[in-house]
């Protein structure tokens, strides 16, 4: 081919020859399936690398890297209320979406924001602005860096102070506890925690959804108390040094604990189950028992990896996630369609993009400001 290449009039013909050859349907040179598949992996890696925002120098410990597709498994405790179960799909790389030009009345995706309530009741609003030292809470120094706050243990603490980090709809945040454990908080969630850990164990309380990477400390087991927004006890996760996700939204049907690495034990109403990596403990609100099943890790962890992963999901399950992240209210006119939807899209997308993808799957809706009505 190269032989005939020149700078003269053959250019157009050569270009057409290229196209003709590309479109040809002959079996003379068929690559291996494995090769084609492996190139897809490279493509996704390249896309991910080129999508990453220009690096803001971050102290590694405080990194807010929602798009890092860390293959961490987590325990998800999912508080069940209504009986819908979310299913998942296989993992795909997570590029940050190229942010589209803002049209009028676009509903923006959620952002890194939260409220921090200190032991004395004072509230600090956390958003993207203002990194640096935040507060001094007894023996703990609180610093903020790009969508995350970290508690550093200074000296032996005089008293144990509790702080609460909470996210509204449309927010997410990341926290590092005094022992080095990291917590990612999804929208409409909260975590109450001591500024320093004393005693023989480490205990925190959560509502909503959080992903944990617990620092290993054999001497002090880590406990996550799962609460309803009203404060009712929904279950307890006992952590044996590990990565897991806990989901306990009031409008979901179950408390779900998904384990990625390590081991955890989920306890509720006197029942306890021990999880292996890749498993999930599901405790339906309306039922007594705890079920353990293999988890769709990619689906459970999609939010933490900056994505929505829908795979054969019903519209109501999808809309609950959407409403939490985009801070919209969703109601249904008439009978709710039992159709299922699939899609994998960045959480950084505008609502309109996600909705267009769902429309392809058959969604019909009306959107008025922040109120959506799903129609037939």
């Amino acid at each position: 081919m190269l032989d005939y290449f020149d700078a003269g009039g053959n250019e157009r013909l050569l270009k057409e020859l290229v196209l003709k050859t590309l479109e040809a349907d002959d079996a003379s040179r068929v690559p291996h399936d494995a090769l084609t598949e492996s190139i897809l992996v490279n493509i996704k890696t390249t896309i991910r690398e080129r999508s990453e925002a220009p690096s803001v120098p971050t102290i590694p410990v405080y990194q807010r890297n929602w798009f890092r597709a860390a293959a961490v498994a987590g325990i998800l405790l999912l508080a069940a209320i209504t009986g819908f179960v979310l299913t998942s799909r296989r993992p795909v790389a997570a590029p940050a979406a190229a942010v589209p030009p803002i049209k009028k009345e676009e509903i923006m995706p959620g952002k890194d924001a939260a409220r921090l309530t200190l032991a004395d009741g004072s509230v600090i609003v956390l958003d993207s602005a203002g990194n640096g030292a935040l507060a001094s809470q007894g023996a703990a120094e609180v610093t903020k860096q790009n969508g995350a706050i970290a508690y550093g243990q200074k000296d032996a603490p005089a008293q144990v102070l509790y702080n609460t980090l909470s996210t509204a709809r449309g927010n997410q945040y990341q926290l590092q506890l005094a022992d080095g454990s990291r917590v990612w908080l999804n929208a409409a969630s909260s975590i109450r925690f001591p500024t320093t850990f004393t005693g023989n164990d480490r205990r925190v309380e959560i509502t909503g959804e959080a992903y944990f990477e617990v620092a290993h400390d054999a001497a002090r087991p880590f406990f996550v108390q799962v609460l309803s927004p009203a404060g009712a006890d929904l279950g307890l996760v006992r952590v044996l040094g590990t990565h897991f996700n806990v989901q306990a939204y009031a409008d979901e049907s179950a408390i779900k604990t998904t384990l990625l690495e390590g081991a955890v034990q989920f306890t509720r109403n006197g029942q306890e189950r021990l999880l292996q990596p890749g498993q999930q403990a599901v405790a339906h609100y309306q039922q007594q028992g705890i079920e353990v099943a293999n988890a769709r890790i990619d689906k459970e962890m999609a939010w933490k990896n900056g994505q929505f992963l829908f795979d054969g999901d019903h519209i109501e399950d999808i809309m609950r996630q959407i409403s939490r992240w985009y801070d919209i209210d969703v109601t249904y006119a008439g009978a709710v369609s039992q159709e299922t939807f699939s899609g994998l899209v960045s959480r950084n997308s505008h609502l309109s993009q996600v909705l267009k993808i769902l429309e392809v799957g058959g969604l019909n809706y009306k959107l008025n400001g922040k109120k959506m009505i799903v129609t037939q």
Partner: protein
């Protein structure tokens, strides 16, 4: 919509083409950033593209790089997609440009050119388009006709008939060094003329082919 199969062990030879409607829906989803749609596009077209690109560039690793760049471009330019048109022509146009640019750059890069030419020499028998070969041969014949008659005869005997120097020497009753002299001058002349007509890769390749 074509069903996706698990990540490993995908059978690319079993591709079912889309209806116009399915094609459009796929485009919409891709445009809005649905990665599953991107995967589906890949599964539909990448295999065929990879095979055909390899035919053109002769090297599997080069083809892999080009294929990668094509799909990365597809993703990053997804907002420009016109959903009223078809996926395949759009994708293949990206591929066409990518491969063509590759050749254009290669033609200018001497060292790359040489290694490519060496690779293509081996595969030289598989010329896809007669038209180009005919054109090149025509040009060559024209050039040869500009050679002085004796030199031209010698050149034809050595280069086109494939006779050895010894054979030509005995037939024409001239020394081998004279033959050599003629060949050198003829080659030089043709090379110069080809360079004027086709600057860059073509002349080198043709001379190599003849040599």
């Amino acid at each position: 919509m074509p069903t996706l199969v698990p990540f490993t062990g995908y059978n690319y030879s079993n591709v079912v083409p889309l209806t116009a409607h399915e094609d459009r829906l796929l485009l919409i989803r891709l445009k809005e950033g649905d990665e599953m749609a991107f995967d589906e596009v890949y599964r539909l077209y990448a295999h065929k593209l990879l095979g055909n690109i390899t035919k053109l560039v002769k090297s599997e690793s080069t083809a892999a790089e080009l294929l990668q760049e094509i799909f990365v471009k597809l993703w990053f330019n997804r907002e420009k997609i016109d959903v009223d048109r078809s996926m395949a022509p759009y994708l293949f146009r990206i591929a066409q440009n990518q491969v063509y640019d590759f050749f254009r750059k290669a033609a200018r890069d001497n060292s790359l050119q040489r290694s490519l030419t060496a690779a293509s020499q081996e595969a030289y028998v598989h010329i896809e388009e007669d038209i180009f070969q005919a054109e090149a041969v025509r040009h060559l014949q024209e050039l040869m006709s500009t050679l002085p008659p004796k030199r031209r005869t010698i050149f034809e005997m050595i280069k086109l008939e494939g006779l050895s120097y010894a054979e030509v020497s005995s037939r024409l009753n001239i020394s081998e060094s004279t033959i050599n002299d003629h060949i050198v001058k003829a080659t030089k002349h043709i090379q110069q003329q080809m360079n004027l007509l086709y600057p860059g890769a073509l002349s080198v390749a043709i001379i190599l082919h003849l040599g």
